[in-house]
Structures are given as C-alpha cells and as structure tokens.
Assembly symmetry: D3
Homo-oligomer: 128 residues x 6
C-alpha cells in the first residue's frame, strides 16, 4: 500500500507506454487509438464520458485507471461534488471491495484539486 504519487504516475505511464507502443504492434496501436477516441465528445459530452470511465475503473478496481480518469475529470472541469456522487454509485454497485480504491481516489483528488502532497494529512479536524 505505497502512497500514490500523481506526478510519478504520469512519468512512469509515459515511459512504459513508450516501451510497449515502440514495438509497433498494429493491433495494440489501434486499441490505444480506439481507447482515446471513446472519450471524445459525441452524443455524450467529455465530462460525462470521463465520469463513466472513472466509475468503470472503480468497479473493476484499477488504481492506475482511476488516477488517469480523475486527471481527465479535473482537466474537463468535473467538481469534487460530482466526483463523490460518481464514486458513490461505484461503491454501491461494486461493494466494499472498492473501498481501498476510493481511498486512493480521494488521495489523488487531494493532489489534483487541492495541491496536496502525496501522503499529506487531510485538513479535516477529526478522525475516523
């Protein structure tokens, strides 16, 4: 359970994407392209699509995918209240097994939205 550092995640993701995409396997390259296009605005706008990606990533329990979609949600202007509502749907559908991922998600939100450092204590004055 190491702390999730958004900056390190972005760097490692770029380095490792380069490693596999550098092999130029046609099927894999096409999948990456299809993946990007699925979140472009269409009948649904970009924010809704990123929230869909976030919930899908949370119920399937992938921290890297959650961090990626939170980063995108932040970029396209989702509010923290909207993220909480979306994560609540994921929690109810996916159950308590998603809770460790909600914890990571909210640590990432602190870094993206509030300029916190990884592992920084929350500002709330009470404990649970």
């Amino acid at each position: 359970m190491p702390r999730f550092d958004v900056e390190e995640f972005r760097r490692e993701r770029a380095r490792m994407n380069e490693a596999i995409l550098g092999e130029k396997h046609l099927g894999i390259a096409r999948f990456w392209a299809l993946d990007s296009r699925a979140y472009e605005p269409g009948a649904l706008d970009a924010k809704t699509k990123e929230l869909l990606g976030l919930v899908a990533s949370t119920v399937l329990r992938c921290n890297d995918c959650i961090a990626y979609h939170l980063d995108q949600c932040h970029t396209v202007g989702a509010s923290k209240e909207e993220l909480l509502d979306a994560l609540n749907v994921a929690l109810v559908v996916g159950g308590s097994i998603t809770i460790p991922h909600l914890r990571v998600a909210w640590d990432v939100v602190g870094q993206l939205y509030d300029g916190k450092k990884p592992g920084e204590l929350p500002a709330h004055g009470h404990s649970h």
Copy 2:
C-alpha cells in the same frame, strides 16, 4: 442464451425481491435502500447517474443489472445515441468479453424504445 424478455424480467424481479426482502433482514433491507438513493439526483442528475449504473453493470457483465438500468435510462429520457456512446465506453474499458452483454442490451433497447418483441428481427436491411 435464452431471449431476454423485459416484461418477464420485471415480473420475476418483483417476485424475487419480495421473497428475499420479506425475510426482513435489517442489513439487506438497508442495502436495498442505499442502492435506490445512489441514483437520486444530487451533484449529478438522474440521467448521468443511470448511465453510470449502466456502464458499471456492463463492465461487470450482469444482464439483469443492464436491463434494469436501461429501463431507468428510458424513463429519465436518455436517447439511443447516448446509450450507444455509454456502451462504447463500457466496451473499450471492459473488452470483447462484454460483447454478449451489448447484444442483450441492444435487444432490450429494441423492446423499450422501439416496441419490438423479444427475438424480433432488427429492421436493418443488411447482415453481419
């Protein structure tokens, strides 16, 4: 791979909900209530929340849950184009293993949106 009949699904769902909720187990009753409330409008509106439920159900591959959320999506006014965009996100995130569920989903959409009967041939004049 029996055909998915929306009317039969609604009836059986009601009958079986009654069977288990009739036992009056407090924890189970509270979960059912929490589940309903997660889709009520809040920071996100009802349509967005139902689309989140649809995508979560599709990547977790549960036909009954997909049918339930499609029924709700229809009620709160999601268009077929919006459903296709949401299902496409689910397909890309969840992979080809979700395809049999997309097939069921679109059969259900035909019954909900176009008044088709279960198992009725699609109106498109070409084959795949």
Copy 3:
C-alpha cells in the same frame, strides 16, 4: 432470467459432470477431487466451510455454484437466518451487482427449505 429449478440443476449437473470427467483428463480429475476435499471438516467444521463456499460463490456471482453450496448448507444444517447473515456479508463486500444472485439464492432456499416450487409466489402478504 429463466427460473432456477433445483431438481433440474442437480440432474443437468450430474449429466454434464459425467461428460467432462468421462474424458479422464488427469489434471481435471484431480482438481475435482481437491475441490471436494476442501469442504470436509478440519480446523473448520463442514457448516462453516459451506458458508465460506456460498459467500465466495456469491461475490464471484455464479448461480450454479450458489445453488450447489445452498444445497450443501441445507444438508449440513445451516439455518435460514445463518444463510441471510452470510448473504448479507456477500452483498456488502460484492455490492449491488450481486443482488440478482441473492434473488436466485432466495428462490433456491424456498425450494430447499420450504418445499416451494420454482417460480412460486412468496408467502409474505406485501409487495416491494
């Protein structure tokens, strides 16, 4: 969403087990044996182990496995109240995506514990 008939399940399970075990693949045969032995009394008694099998089957969402372990739970003397407590743990851990399986589970319990027929209406005098 066809009704789950316990008698038919037992018959089909026996027929299909015979089909695959009849091939006498050593690895597959040994796995079947290991599976049976895992539920024999040891440090934990048979009832606890069957409840573990029931909860594992529910969070992994396999109706046939749920029905099998409910049949065993009934044989080794688990009460309906114990089954509800176990299914509640599964519901909380696994989330609302397990609800369709809880519905099937309780239909099966009605057949095993109360002599109901598949699809018979529950005796409770109220609806949900």
Copy 4:
C-alpha cells in the same frame, strides 16, 4: 441452467449482432473489427490464438464467448485432447468457479465434435 444449443447460439448471435451493428456507431464497429483481427494468424498461428481466446473466455466465465471460441477451435483443427489441456489451464488459474463453464464447454464440444444433440447423455458407461 438451460441447455446450451450451439445452433440456436449461432442464430441468436447473428440476429443480435445485426441489431447493434446496424446502428453504425463508429467506435463499436471498429472494436468489432479489431476483435476479429486479433485472431488472424501472425507471430502465433490461428489455432494457438483461438486457444488463447478460449482460456481467456473461460477464466472470465462467459458461456457465449466459450462457445464461440470452441466453434472456431473446431474449425481450425484443434483436437479434443488439446481443448482439455487448455481448459485444464483455465481451471487451475480460475478455480472451481469456472467448473460450471467447463460443463457447458464440454456439452458444446459434444455437439461440435461428436454430433450430439443438446442435452444428450454422454456415451461413457459410468457415472460421477
């Protein structure tokens, strides 16, 4: 647990593919194409790729996907012994939760390889 009928599966799969692909959603159409191409011979031959698809479908526990890849395995010349070895890997990796899917798989193999009818009793002279 209705019997799995290979002929009916092929018909329903074609009908329902037509329903969703007839909507001409670009992302969905491209995914279908990418899916087909992944199994064309390349560095690995078609039989190996279909066995990979079979094992992936079995550990992810999708009967329709299992039936589809068994149909393809039969077409490209995999033997029953090779299928048993592949299913054994899936069983060990995925555990007893895959057993109901192995039962369906072997019923489908009986229809594809031995000309059996759905639900026909196996020819082995002993029971399990």
Copy 5:
C-alpha cells in the same frame, strides 16, 4: 511487489479514510456504517463473519481487504489452522490467480500472530 507492512497499512488506512469520510457525503458515510455492521455478531458469530470477509476478499483479490480481515480474525480469536482452512477454500474456488494474495496473507499472519517483521524470513528450515 513491495512488502506488506501491517503497521503502515493501519496508519495509511486511517489517514485515507479520514480524507474521504471528511467530505461528509451521506451515501458514502452510510455505506461505511453498513459495512461495519455486517460483521457484528448475529445469527452467525463474529469469527465466522470475519472468516467470510477474509474468503470474499481473497477470491476478489484485494490485499488491503485481506489484511484488514486478518487483523479482525486475529482480534476475535481465529487460529492459524482455521485461517489456513479458510484460505484453502478461497484458493480452490478462486484458483491459482489468488496465490500471490495467499503469499501476502501469510506474511501478514506472520506479523500478526508471530511478531515477525515485514520481510523477515520464515522459521522453517527448508526451501520451496
């Protein structure tokens, strides 16, 4: 594959719970409460319920959830022999894909039951 340190896990879990619960989202807070109550003694005692939580967490393959329920199992008096029997059910149901989680589980048990430090070599005088 960093070593799992029970003390660090408890600290980080408390810190991150505070971060998300501090947002006071009603649905999320209620889920946390429902989760706690599911393990309180009822028709089943606390030890059986914690073992159910352990097995559910293992077949769903969540190290944090496994560590949490092992910590609880230790508190309510489950023996190492009982834990091994429960983990064996999880292994058979969930397959070899759970093995890395069994390894983490037993490392955690060493810290909880035998006062070992994270990463300390086991006391057995032979290798595997």
Copy 6:
C-alpha cells in the same frame, strides 16, 4: 505504481512461498502441485501452455502472475513477437482495464529479453 523488479519478485516469491508452504496444509500443498503440473507438456507443448497462462493472468489482471509466466515464456523460448500477439488477444478480450498490466508486462520483458534495468528508458527514439 512502483517499478516492477524481476529479481526482487523472484526473491520475495520464494520467501513467501516458503512461509505458506512451510505450514504443510495438505490441500494448499496439493494445489501448488496441481498448478505446476498444468504447464507440463502434454497434448499442448510447454510454450503454448505458458502463453495460455500469460493471457489468463493478463485478463484477470495479476502483475505477479504475468511476471511469472513471462519468466517461464522466456525460459521455454517464446519470442517477443509471440508475446505481443498473445498480449494483444488479452487486450482485446479484457479491454483497456488491462493496459496498466501490459505496461508492466513490457517492462518485465525488457528486463528478461533485453537485459534492461527496472525503470530504464526504452531505446525507441520517439515518445507517446
């Protein structure tokens, strides 16, 4: 998202296997044996079986299992092109949720096949 170090993985895996197998639980010991035997040559050769194990591990999204089967694939002589074809099948079946695991897989391949150090930059002269 710490870097995956193949050497450290092998050491920790051996240490932790010893911890749990040292308990001499019969069911667990037998499962370990069954697991090893599933990959021995039979109707399918060792390379095909390791590729099956790799794809199963990737769609089930277990980094340790992926690293183990890549190590075995390397030992039995699978080429990088064959690994890419197998991982592409896993990607299409399992969807974008497998992408973080493909990134780890290719980092591991760099260590096994090209003598790279964990975290070393890929040699390709362009970025993604």
